[in-house]
Symmetry: C2
Subunit: 154 residues, 2 copies
């Protein structure tokens, strides 16, 4: 079974993405249950339909399929919650790819960094621009940010 193993961190406020490609994304959820999410993501003229299962440790099953962007746009009309808008920067640190998401729209002000691991116990070098780890914190799941966006947090 395809597994996604990842750790997630807040990003320090003074972070500036240098020499990193900016990928604007919008994604929405057909299902945002903790035990199963169904995500539609559009980045430029590419799009994906992605099913993820519940989190066990830092791992969860993940199934991803490329789909036509036009169909993704139509499917987003069926979504629950708000669309999640962000710009993603891919940054390589010690041979490991970090994805830094700078959120916009309803989640403006939030910056998250994720790193995918090959195993649960893999050790990883933390770049100096990452802050608190929020791997297990459901509030920072993008599916949850769609329902309870950052700008509405207390």
């Amino acid at each position: 079974m395809p597994l996604e193993i990842e750790r997630k961190f807040l990003v320090k406020a003074d972070f500036v993405p240098k020499n990193a490609r900016a990928i604007p994304m919008v994604q929405a959820y057909l299902c945002a249950d903790p035990q199963r999410t169904v995500r539609v993501r559009i980045a430029g003229n590419l799009a994906w339909l992605t099913v993820k299962g519940g989190l066990t440790g830092n791992s969860r099953p993940e199934f991803e399929y490329a789909i036509p962007a036009e169909e993704a746009r139509e499917m987003m009309k069926l979504a629950v919650g708000f669309p999640v808008e962000k710009v993603r920067y891919e940054i390589w640190v010690n041979g490991k790819k970090w994805e830094v998401d700078i959120f916009e729209g309803m989640n403006q002000g939030l910056m998250l960094a994720e790193v995918e691991l090959d195993t649960e116990n893999e050790s990883v070098t933390l770049p100096d621009w990452v802050g608190e780890e929020v791997s297990g914190d459901m509030r920072y799941h993008n599916s949850r940010l769609s329902e309870f966006p950052f700008t509405r947090w207390e």
Copy 2:
């Protein structure tokens, strides 16, 4: 936008599928909301991930993607409700394909016939083995049959 336009009928108890290919299917739902369903279907070694929107008249948006059967089997573990098991028979009547589903498992005893239309107002010849029309009746949606299966109806 891809639209599914269909009418649905109960099938009379004395129906016998003659000269029709039997296609055993199992399907389960990652989401079974009336306004959006996400279905995983396996028929033999073929499988699909299908998103449908809510019903307007007899029409609903439908997006279907072929996926590896092995991934579909794994994804079914994330489903809500019961798996819906049935044998489908494809029967041609006056140039129109009817799909007759004879349900098994938790929906044993139920037989439904569906015909896909090109337009909402297309007239269609009803074969003599169809009974009451149940097109608008949510109880007969497969997504609903997954949550409230026929053998548990009062």
